[in-house]
């Protein structure tokens, strides 16, 4: 047995909270200030236990007639032989024994702690570039959506206004980041939010064209919802990856479940709110200046024949 051991006070999950280096034996454990290891645990006696080396050189922890005793694996025992990894408990304090030759996990390099691409974006210039790009794309989008005269300044103010929401979002993530991982990482969070805005704005025309061409297809609703849910999940995953607290699998799980719950509730709400209008009524609103020749049209007879089913549909609503 080594001449030096470390006693780690661990939390419930086994993560170390404090470490004590012990090299002189006997070493005592208790609440009084005469001990080698002083515990602020009201369930620990003033002189609770002692670590001794026997004649063979082995280390033991022994109960010193304490009120609450010494435990190993939830069994009250008089003494426990100590080796690397041994766990024992006095009062409400759990100890784990470590030795100097204990193997530790390899170092995590800073670059690997977050996603590769995001890391580059997380640099000051990368994040600012992403943010600026988001503002520009947003301005272009606002310009194309507007049909009144607008000045560049108005567009800029509007898009900055919208982006301020994402600034707040990034701040919230940075605060969370600080709480759980001791650093803010504001720029990476801002960069991620900006990339998300750009992606969303670029995806939008695609969905609008889909609506323009295939509006009658109800499955489109579902495709769109699933796509949105996936998008939100990816965003959450990205933020969690920057924070870097949980494993990759967990991140997907958390992001996926959160997004599914959000969209589940939205869908449920729409289902429950048996609206004044059919959702289908909102769909054909998308009119596009291109591809009219490729529109899959039908003649009036076919259209009205298909519309006959509406009668049964509203009749059943009325009979309810």
């Amino acid at each position: 047995m080594e001449s030096v051991i470390f006693l780690e006070v661990t939390d419930r999950k086994g993560n170390p909270l404090y470490r004590y280096r012990l090299d002189t034996f006997p070493a005592t454990i208790g609440r009084s200030y005469r001990n080698t290891v002083i515990l602020a645990d009201r369930y620990v006696s003033p002189e609770h236990a002692v670590i001794v080396r026997d004649e063979l050189g082995a280390l033991w922890v022994e109960d010193r007639s304490s009120d609450n005793g010494l435990f190993r694996d939830n069994d009250r025992v008089q003494r426990v032989a100590l080796g690397a990894g041994t766990r024992f408990r006095v009062g409400h304090t759990t100890f784990q024994v470590c030795t100097p030759d204990q193997v530790v996990e390899p170092v995590l390099r800073e670059a690997e702690s977050s996603q590769g691409g995001l890391n580059r974006l997380g640099s000051r210039s990368g994040a600012l570039l992403a943010f600026a790009l988001a503002v520009i794309v947003l301005m272009a989008d606002l310009y194309l959506k507007s049909y009144n005269r607008v000045s560049t300044l108005q567009l800029l103010i509007q898009s900055l206004g919208i982006m301020s929401v994402f600034l707040v979002w990034a701040c919230a993530w940075a605060l969370f980041n600080r709480l759980v991982a001791q650093r803010f990482a504001f720029l990476p969070h801002l960069a991620l939010a900006s990339v998300a805005v750009i992606a969303l704005l670029l995806l939008q025309p695609a969905t609008e064209y889909l609506e323009f061409f295939f509006a009658p297809l109800r499955v489109l609703n579902w495709v769109e919802t699933v796509a949105k849910a996936f998008f939100i999940a990816a965003l959450l995953y990205g933020h969690l990856a920057i924070v870097g607290v949980v494993t990759q699998r967990r991140r997907w799980l958390i992001a996926g479940v959160t997004s599914a719950v959000i969209f589940g509730l939205v869908e449920l709400n729409q289902y429950a709110d048996n609206g004044w209008y059919d959702p289908a009524a909102e769909r054909p609103a998308q009119l596009k200046p291109m591809g009219m020749g490729m529109l899959p049209t039908v003649d009036m007879d076919t259209f009205l024949r298909d519309a006959k089913k509406l009668k049964a549909s509203v009749d059943s609503l009325a009979e309810k």
């Binding site: 059919d278 009119l287 049209t297 009036m300 509203v314």
Partner: protein
Amino acid sequence: MTHLRWRSLLYAAVILNGAPVRPLGAQDPASSATPAIFRRYSDHVSKIQVSENASGAKSELGSGFFVSDDGLVITNYHVISKLVLNPDRYHAELFDTRGTTRAVTVVAIDVVHDLAVLRTEPHGDGFFNLIPVSTEQGTRLYSLGHPHDLGLSIVEGTYNGLLQHTLYQKIHFTGSLNPGMSGGPTIDDRGEVVGVNVSTAGNQLSFLVPVDRAMLLLRQAQNPDYSIPDNFLAVVAKQLLAYQDVYLATLLADSGETTVLGHYRLPTNPASFFNCWADADRNDDSPYEVVDHQCSTDDYVFISGEHSSGVVEFEHRLLSSKELNRFRFFSLFSDQFRMGGSLGPGDDEDVTPYRCESRPVNQHGLTMKVLFCVRRYRKMTGLYDAVVKAAVLGERDAGLLTTLNLSGVSFENAEMMARRYLGSITWNP
């Protein structure tokens, strides 16, 4: 046009407190015949009150007049509509000039002309003998009723002929009819009933149902073979269905009138009972132009306080812009095509939500996105509201939007109208 419903008293009071235009006749000393007419005929007229059963609170107030010696009374359908639609929740009473109160029951209704025949126990009341009358424009008339529940009143006015632009005849009466006078008679100085008070547009502009409609309904009620229906709701539905069959039959038929908007030839003024108007918005501040053309029936059928029917309206809107690029123009086009706004009266109790079908349709070589939405009257089988909306595509800097609203029509007629309406849109190079 406001129906003379007692509940709209507050609203009416606001309008009527502003100094109304005085009719020419009001400058003259009151006709000396008026007190005599009032004395002679006031016992023919009574107050009709509809009350809620549970609370006993009065819910609707109007007037009515005796038309037979066996206790038949004529009033407006809208006075007793609550009793007709919810017979379990309401009851009606009649208050005569002697101050006695009598229960009344509904015998017959004419929803389209807003008339009803009621029965009460006879009590030696005087009554009007309804006969056809011919009246000259300018004839002095006297309207009797209970305005705002203030007691029986007599209002002088003049006969100004029949209204133009209505599907069914209505008399234009220049005189102040007020809420509560609904269902009262308007008579000439010989005591002949000319019409039944029905609605007002304020400022002495009032309307009467001609007496011959009341005579028809009375004759029906007095027919020995006539039996009082168990379910008046079904009668309402049947009358509305018959009504829409009549007025839709010739509407928008092939040879109809058309107007030109941009490159499109479009239906307009489909019948004499329609009113059409157009408006162009060419504003220097706006990078696009809007030209509107709207047509609508002037009249509607009262069903209940929240629900009415029998309105056909359509609107063409041409959007164009030289300034906007095509993406921005189509943003405008899409936004204007979006469904929304108020689409006809009726709340959740009266009508179902809309259900829609939409498709790009090719018609006469025009490509249009068509939206066809219907909803049903909950309590009346066979009656629907329909909205037909189309965006005509094909130009990059101009687009046509057109909307047809139908209320209280059969599903088959809604289909037929959608076909005729969209079919009458053609390209006009």
